[in-house]
Amino acid sequence: MDKKTEALNKYFGFSSLRAYQEPIVDKLLEGTDTLAVLPTGSGKSICFQLPALMKNGLTLIVSPLLSLMDNQLQELRAKHIKAAAAYNSFMSPEEKSRVLRRLSSLKLLYISPEALSLPFIVERLKEVNVVMMVVDEAHCISQWGHEFRTDYLKIGPVREAVGNPCMAAFTATATPEVQLDIKKQLRMEEPAEYIHSVDRVNIALFVQRCTSEREKKKELVRIIQNAPGPGLVYVTSRKKCEELKKLLQEESAHQVEAYHGGLDNEARLMIQQQFLHGDLDVVVCTNSFGMGLNKADVEFVLHYHFPKDAESYIQEIGRAGRDGRQAWATVLYLEEDIIIPQMLMESELPPVDELDAAWETAASSRQEETTADLINKLGWTETAARFLAFYLEKHPRKRKSELLEDLEEKVQQRRFEKEKKLKVMVQWLENSNTCRRRLLLQVFGEALMKRPDPCCDICGSTIPVRKQPGNEKEKVTAPWEMRLQELFFGKEREHE
């Protein structure tokens, strides 16, 4: 057995890697920079976790989302891999300092981009042996990408500061221009590239045009009733989440729950576990659900509100059909809904008429508090505040008038980019004569090589109807005595 297989067996309990994972692992083991565009749910994390565990030294994994970090850590802990930890702003000071103390004994450190840009963290990292850096969701680094985060731009300089370790970038969705940008910003030199098609052949694509909110609700109920799931319904607000959950609980025979940021941690974890475990059929959620959620048998993703661009769409439907079985995705398209991504877009940009006030605020606050002050004093969103804070930090000596002018231009440019992306999304939804799959692939510079069957509504496919005989409502709840016994000993007390 070679070392790789041995380690794979020891840490993950597998005997072999999948064909496309193999070369990535090899490249990273030999220390070559690597760019990988892999569809979500394809077992991406093992590509860097395995080499990280085999290397002598620390691997930093830059991950933008708390839930992603948490999920991966939980999975590692479940596999009894202990040399892994996270560092982010949601941890208590004690937790943070505990992580920093045991840095030299760690193999994997999941870190948020904003934490990575703190000077004292960089200093601490210089003291240990950083052998590899992994950037997850690497498209966030590009301003041509759909989720541009200024913090990501600081990763490149940190790489140099900690001694130029090998760099790996992963993303599920990157157009060719975003790929170029990733390589440039992360200072990758002649990286190995593994670019997979964004096409998920086993997911059939549907768009259903509705003319009113009422019709949308009716359609939702009808579709869900005929789809046993498991499935996800994406909406954009907490309120809508709760409203649709109630509607589906009343009108469908399925076990339905809601998941959004307004729930407490315990409830969030519980619902996630219930869904994984198969206790729930449908989860109505905001897009924070599903990030890094490894449920292989999700049968459908239904967008009650459409996403702001094709990249988000690809990412969100990518949570279906990971087990390779036939799955489907549908959008309930209501023209007026465009207001939602539009408003989201606006809120993520600094308001042009408040730039002056923002400059004053920033001038009177300490650098590391600029973002927080903009959020608290001006009511900006985090994205907007970070955007501004970043440019102020980058150009500390520019005159105010010049800077503001510059900023306004930057904001307009961002808006223009975002509007363009939204327009592409809407065009895709409105399209009524070209294969949806072909059109979607075009956005990513790909051609459709082979049309799967079923493909999309335009190609004549329809949403599968699977009438359930009888309904699946929860059986009468067991008395607590029985439940307690099952909790401890399982359904049969086999060890008695």
Binding site: Q273, R483, E486, L487, F488, G490
Partner: protein, 351 residues
């Protein structure tokens, strides 16, 4: 009548119009201040302390206003007689719940985390399932469970069966509803726990009520465990056992122990004398060994307690009017906080 309404009404009833509505709010939301803690004690309302932890001031005011509007609360701030029949089942619920937020709020949270994680872990081990996502993410609890398991070693399944028996015994003494809530919240190897909302749907109860009853069942388990040193449940208790003082009152006590006078504490800490007085009252109520005889002559203490008993009131103003002119409010509060010897009262004696 909704759960929150009922709890507010019960709180106001207990306070007997001798405190403002805001005091009821502080009591129900469980504010750790000297005044609220003393109120909880005087008015025998530890079972309401922190009963509605998520209630915010605005909600409270909206509900109270509507209760006044409906005539359920009289202008004097006490519940109307006409409502007492509808309040009774709720009072019974509070009586049976075993909730004691005053003593067990924080230990209760910790106890729950330990028990929940311990059961999840044991049941996975017992059913030979190694991998699971801990439902309790808290590091301290995870460390605790780890230590417990290694200290039990081979005896862990014996401990587990014992724990099961102890819990079943204790739950049998609770109401069916409380036992149900507690058990359905737990997670094992094959079954996942339910969220508060899911339980509230299953039982057709409000979420706030389910939360209160869950905490009540946890507090009951703790109370039982405290008296049974040989049990596994007892091992789950935190043995630290610190007295229930607010952090700031604890600081004041540290100064007192170094021999500072009240005024000197106020000066050194840069706080108002009245604030330090609040701390004294809190300390007097909590620390048995803390004597107030230097501050209030024993004779005056006795007079105050007798006045409170004969007038059957804790209203400071009424008491002050009844007592000698040199009796200060501070003296009255101290004497009542120390309490204990109050005579002539049946079920309202101060503990």
């Amino acid at each position: 009548m909704l759960f929150q309404e009922a709890m507010i009404l019960i709180a106001l009833k207990r306070l007997r119009g001798e405190r403002t509505d805001a005091s009821a709010y502080h009591l129900l939301s469980g504010k750790r201040s000297s005044q609220t803690i003393t109120d909880a004690k005087w008015f025998q309302s530890k079972d309401l302390f922190g009963a509605l932890p998520k209630l915010d001031k605005l909600q409270f005011e909206r509900i109270t206003a509507s209760l006044y509007h409906r005539g359920w609360i009289e202008p004097g701030g006490v519940p109307a007689e006409s409502i007492s029949a509808s309040m009774r089942p709720w009072e019974k619920l509070v009586e049976e719940a075993g909730f004691d937020g005053w003593a067990y709020r924080d230990t209760g949270h910790q106890f729950w985390k330990r028990i929940a994680l311990l059961i999840q872990t044991l049941s996975h081990l017992y059913q030979r399932k190694k991998q699971f996502v801990p439902i309790i993410q808290d590091h301290a609890s995870q460390q605790w469970v780890k230590q417990k398991l290694s200290s039990w070693g081979e005896g862990k399944y014996t401990a587990m069966k014992k724990l099961y028996e102890e819990m079943a015994d204790c739950l049998r003494d609770m109401t069916e509803l409380q036992a149900f809530i507690f058990v359905y919240k737990l997670t094992g190897a094959e079954i996942l726990g339910k969220t508060t909302e899911q339980i509230s749907r299953l039982q057709h109860r409000e979420q706030e009520e389910v939360d209160y009853l869950l905490q009540g069942s946890i507090h009951t388990l703790i109370k039982n465990a405290e008296n049974q040193p040989e049990t596994v449940l007892h091992e789950c208790l935190d043995t630290g056992g610190t007295p229930e003082l607010t952090v700031t009152a604890q600081k004041t006590l540290d100064f007192i122990n170094k021999g500072f006078t009240l005024e000197a504490v106020a000066r050194s800490r840069g706080l108002k004398v009245s604030t330090i007085e609040d701390h004294f009252v809190e300390i007097a109520g909590e620390i048995k060994e803390f004597s107030i005889d230097q501050l209030v002559p024993p004779k005056q203490q006795e007079a105050i307690r007798q006045a409170a008993a004969s007038l059957d009131t804790f209203k400071l103003k009424t008491l002050k009017e009844q007592l000698d002119a040199d009796t200060t409010y501070f003296a009255i509060r101290l004497a009542l906080a120390k309490g204990g010897q109050k005579s002539g009262q049946k079920n309202r004696s101060i503990e």
